[in-house]
């Protein structure tokens, strides 16, 4: 089915939430040339897996509901991995 505009918007918001969360707390590099990324490697999914493992979630590498729920919780600004 074509994705309804509001769903597309939600998806965009969620992706933005995931990226900034992983940049803030899991040392995801701010890489602005997504399209130049070499094939096969997906640092975002790898970092997402790190976050899911830390919080004892199912390690899928995908921003599922439980993962997004935790990312929306108020928290300490110190990274979870490394300083």
């Amino acid at each position: 089915l074509p994705v309804a505009p509001e769903e597309a918007e939600d998806e965009g918001k969620n992706l933005q939430l995931v990226e900034s969360y992983l940049q803030n707390f899991y040392n995801l590099q701010k890489d602005h040339q997504h399209h130049l990324r070499n094939k096969g490697k997906n640092p975002l999914a790898a970092k997402l897996k790190e976050m899911q493992a830390f919080f004892g979630l199912e390690v899928t590498g995908k921003p599922d509901l439980e993962t997004l729920e935790i990312m929306k919780k108020p928290r300490c600004a110190i990274p979870d991995i490394g300083q």
Binding site: G56, P74, R75, C76, A77, I78, D80, Q83
Partner: protein
């Protein structure tokens, strides 16, 4: 628990702290008290001491800051990131910065300043984030009544691994986060709630939803900030869509998922004599409208329709329920009553008045 990479620590135990500014959202005396109490959380379990200084550089400088405050880690406005702190070291090392745009309080509203500062001081002393959901050093915020706060064992282990034990004759210990499949797990109270089962343990509850294999561990305060930890008995009145929760000589009522106003009330309103000081366990039989309260080796029976205790009680538990004896927790499901005593669970059939099965207390968690 996790040490900060590089294992930074203070080279001496007698540290100084200074409060650089105050938030207008709290009385200054309350901020001072929250910080003093947060420091004592760590000094109580280590040889560390903290002395307040007013007008010179201190090891730990505590301040409220707004957005970009020149430390390369700008805050993000209300909610989200609440505060940060720097690992032990000179200059900015050890300092704590709190996001001025948060709603800082001394209670359960907004963000409790004591809880957040106690967490940040863990970083100031060399700890990183723990992935124990019950630890103070867990990254996400969760409220605990400061008067009930006990530093969890995970955090005690972490900070003592850096600075050693306290000088106290008896080493303080802290609450351990329950693991659903720990065979030694026991429960304070258990109730059904709209088809779910809620297992109470200390300040935690394990929620078991019939459609989910895993039990979900939460702080009681996550759903009910006004409920104390250490709930001792609980039961659901399905017909009225209510759950009654007991601790010492008081009880609360949940209507649906919300604490009903006007509670807690004394348990004596239900008809208990003043000699009863607490309830060990309770369950309500939906078919008869009778609720059973277990206290030591006796039980009372309460009529939910008449809203009064039946006459001729208390009676000995063994007289009706066989050798279950003392009961920690109980609930009814599909006509059977499940009694919990320590790590053992008894399935009781009220029709035949017999225990039909004996299981481990954690049998509901698909371990």
């Amino acid at each position: 628990y996790v040490f900060t990479p590089g294992n930074p620590k203070w080279k001496r135990n007698n540290l100084t702290y200074r409060i650089l500014n105050y938030t207008p959202k709290m009385r200054q005396a309350d901020v001072d008290e929250a910080i003093r109490k947060a420091l004592s959380v760590w000094s109580n379990v280590t040889p560390l001491t903290f002395r307040k200084v007013e007008d010179k550089e201190a090891d730990i400088m505590i301040s409220f800051a707004y957005r970009d405050h020149q430390d390369n880690s700008p805050f993000d406005g209300p909610n989200g990131q609440l505060a940060h702190a720097f690992q032990p070291g000179e200059g900015i090392g050890g300092d704590v910065h709190l996001d001025e745009e948060e709603t800082w309080t001394k209670d359960g509203r907004g963000y409790n300043l004591f809880i957040v500062i106690a967490h940040e001081l863990g970083h100031s002393l060399g700890l990183s984030h723990s992935n124990d959901p019950g630890a103070l050093m867990y990254p996400t915020y969760s409220y605990t009544d400061p008067n009930e706060f006990l530093l969890p064992q995970d955090d005690i282990d972490g900070i003592q691994a850096i600075y050693g034990q306290s000088n106290a004759a008896v080493q303080p210990t802290g609450p351990v986060t329950p693991q659903a499949c720990d065979p030694n797990l026991t429960f304070d109270a258990i109730t059904t709630l709209r088809g779910e089962k809620i297992f109470f343990k200390g300040r935690y509850m394990l929620r078991k939803h019939p459609a989910r294999t895993e039990a979900e561990l939460n702080f009681i305060s996550l759903l009910w900030p006004k409920l104390p930890s250490g709930i001792q008995a609980a039961y659901e009145n399905v017909e009225r869509d209510e759950v009654l929760l007991f601790k010492e000589d008081k009880y609360w009522v949940l209507r649906g998922y919300d604490i009903a106003p006007g509670y807690p009330k004394p348990i004596y309103h239900l008809g208990f004599p003043k000699t009863v000081k607490r309830v060990n366990a309770a369950y309500s039989d939906e078919t008869t409208g009778k609720t059973y309260f277990f206290i030591a080796d006796r039980y009372w029976r309460y009529d939910e329709n008449k809203k009064s205790m039946d006459h001729g009680y208390p009676k000995k538990i063994v007289s009706k329920f066989g050798k279950t004896g003392r009961v920690d927790a109980a609930f009814q499901k599909d006509g059977y009553v499940y009694f919990f005593r320590g790590t053992t669970q008894f399935q009781f059939d009220p029709r035949t008045k017999r225990i039909v099965r004996k299981m481990k207390s954690i049998s509901w968690f698909n371990c």
